[in-house]
């Protein structure tokens, strides 16, 4: 057991940017760190070379992640990471392109880029850290803030409806969609691995804890109690199929939710290039 733990942390260190000064900007106990270590393990397991990865993000707490990774990192503007990532991937299709984004980043300011990246089915893996709130700017409401939930901009409870990122992505054309939570670290690792192996646009939504804002404003306690709460709320996708909508109310369905096979954008464009150049 002890040796196993040691090996694990070695793996982690191997993927951490050597000259970056720690500690990270994240609050102690923030779910972002759990996602980062699961992603490292998934990358390591898949054997992708660090040189072959480009990791991009927008702006937000979650979006700081690529800065700590020892890969080519592009920390872009708020909401636009998928636009930048489209350029990186299209210019160098041989790169494995991963986008780290938050619920506000992906679905509010970046909503347009999000649905169009899904629609194009460009080979990018987007990891959406859904903490139901704007963490970086101090706890304002986001497009995933549940109705009636509190945030600094919904002090009397949220009157809006929320987005379901996975439904949105599948409807917009993403060809791999999965959901997990920061409680389910092994499942997350597997899901991230499958998503990266998938050719086409893949989305993994990770329900994460912002105890600093969402937890405090909604009386959900500290990081541990929030993460425990995710455990209690979660239902594996296979089981959920046998449940009624009433039973699924308030549940987090986890696992691979959607996978289809469709032609990928860069491949299709290359086909056109070959045809135009008379190579076909």
């Amino acid at each position: 057991m002890a040796t196993a733990v040691k090996q694990r942390s070695d793996v982690i260190l191997d993927y951490i940017r050597p000259r970056k000064k720690f500690p990270s900007v994240w609050c102690a106990g923030c779910g972002n760190g759990i996602v980062m270590s699961a992603l490292i393990r998934a990358i390591e397991k898949a054997g992708y070379s660090k040189d072959g990865i480009a990791m991009l993000s927008g702006i937000g707490c979650s979006s700081r992640m690529p800065i700590y990774f020892d890969v080519s990192a592009l920390h872009t503007t708020h909401g636009r990471a998928l636009g930048f990532a489209t350029g990186v991937k299209f210019a160098r299709p041989e790169l494995k392109v991963i986008v780290i984004t938050g619920d506000g980043d992906a679905l509010a300011i970046g909503g347009n880029h999000f649905i169009h990246a899904c629609r194009r089915n460009i080979d990018i893996t987007a990891i959406l850290l859904n903490n139901y709130i704007y963490g970086m700017t101090g706890g304002q409401g986001s497009p995933t803030t549940p109705s009636e939930a509190f945030s600094t901009t919904t002090p009397y409870g949220n009157v809006e409806k929320h987005f379901e990122p996975c439904d949105l992505a599948a409807a917009a054309g993403a060809t791999f969609v999965g959901r997990t939570t920061v409680y389910h670290a092994p499942q997350m690792e597997k899901l991230l691995g499958d998503a990266m192996a998938h050719r086409g646009f893949s989305l993994v939504e990770v329900v994460s804890n912002c105890h600093t804002y969402f937890g405090r404003l909604n009386r959900q306690g500290d990081a541990v109690s929030m993460i425990n709460h995710f455990k209690e709320q979660s239902v594996p996708v296979a089981k959920s199929r046998k449940m009624s909508p009433e039973e699924l109310e308030g549940k987090i369905v986890t696992g691979k939710l959607h996978e289809v096979d469709k032609t990928e954008f860069c491949d299709e464009y290359q086909r056109v290039v070959d045809a135009v150049q008379g190579r076909n």
């Binding site: 940017r17 000259r19 970056k20 000064k21 660090k50 040189d51 072959g52 480009a54 991009l56 690529p66 800065i67 020892d70 890969v71 080519s72 990192a73 592009l74 920390h75 872009t76 503007t77 636009r80 998928l82 636009g83 930048f84 990532a85 489209t86 350029g87 990186v88 991937k89 299209f90 210019a91 160098r92 041989e94 790169l95 347009n112 880029h113 169009h116 464009y269 056109v272 290039v273 135009v276 150049q277």
Partner: protein
Amino acid sequence: MPDKKRVLMQGNHACVAGAIYAGMRFYAGYPITPSTEVAEGCARRLPEIGGRFIQMEDEIGSIAAVIGASVAGLKSMTATSGPGYSLMVENIGYAYMTETPCVIINVQRGGPSTGLPTKVSQSDTMQARWGTHGDYTAIAVAPSSVAETVTETIRAFNLSERFRTPVTLLLDEVIGHMREIITLPEPGECEVVERVKPTCPPEQFIPFEMTESLVNPMPAYGEGYRNVITGLTHDTMGFTTNKPVEIAPKLDKLRNKIMRHVDEITRLRTEFIDDAEILFISYGSVARAAFQAAKIAREAGAKVGAIQLQSIWPFPDKELMELCARCRKVIVGELNMGQVAIEVERVLPRDTEVHTLLRYDGEILTPMQLLEKLDEVL
């Protein structure tokens, strides 16, 4: 067959020809009049040469993809017009901060807002300088003919690579849409600047090192350097910083890497200026009217010349001062409410009279209007 090279080409298509000549292999854009022919030309031409074209969901995504492609190693550009440029400015600022080369073509139309989609204007001149927030130094060039559009597009790419900075090519509707007989440059005829890549081992690479030239080598993603690029203010390693001792030097770098080379960037064309007592100062399509007016006035015996600003930013303070040293009066003609006139007033000595002829009704200034103004101030 030297005749082969003579073509009747539209200004917008000249951007495409110039860009491809300069090595542009990535275009992302969103259709907008009067720039759309640039996108259409790229959509057709780029696959032929193994390049890439993508129509993005909006201009924000377009410039994002362009910057992404540039960090992935391709020379890249986008083309738009006023409303689209307005949407792009945040990410153009990202390119300034991250020192990412790219070229943005703005085929100007009338504004503000949706304004005049099909009518000529030069009212984004200041936007090209101050469009995005924060302190930075911008480069903008402004051709006034189809032939110049080819060469200035090439130069825009060269400056962009040379100084690792976004460059705006300011066209206007007249230049973008008119066709002229031009001769396309042969390969090797025009200089093409290639991006300087690092040669040191990755562990020794300092991406934003304060070197003598202030312009650092730039690796492409996938080449083993694994560097971090962020729009947050960063130190020489590219890591975010809040330290005053690191913040100011970074901003100085963004300015000085360009301002130390204004001479290299500045380009002016002059006609009939020997012994001229009055000078027209203009750029873009208006420069054509000004040259014409000066020619007509000379034939009528007036000592009049004309200066065209082929590069507008950084503003050619020194050159203008020298060129105007012996004249008493200048007339600045432009298609806006005086965006360059302000700069001319700033630069020229107090005893030089600066007159303006400004048009912002969607039409180009005519030689006759310039001559009438000349007659008035003579």
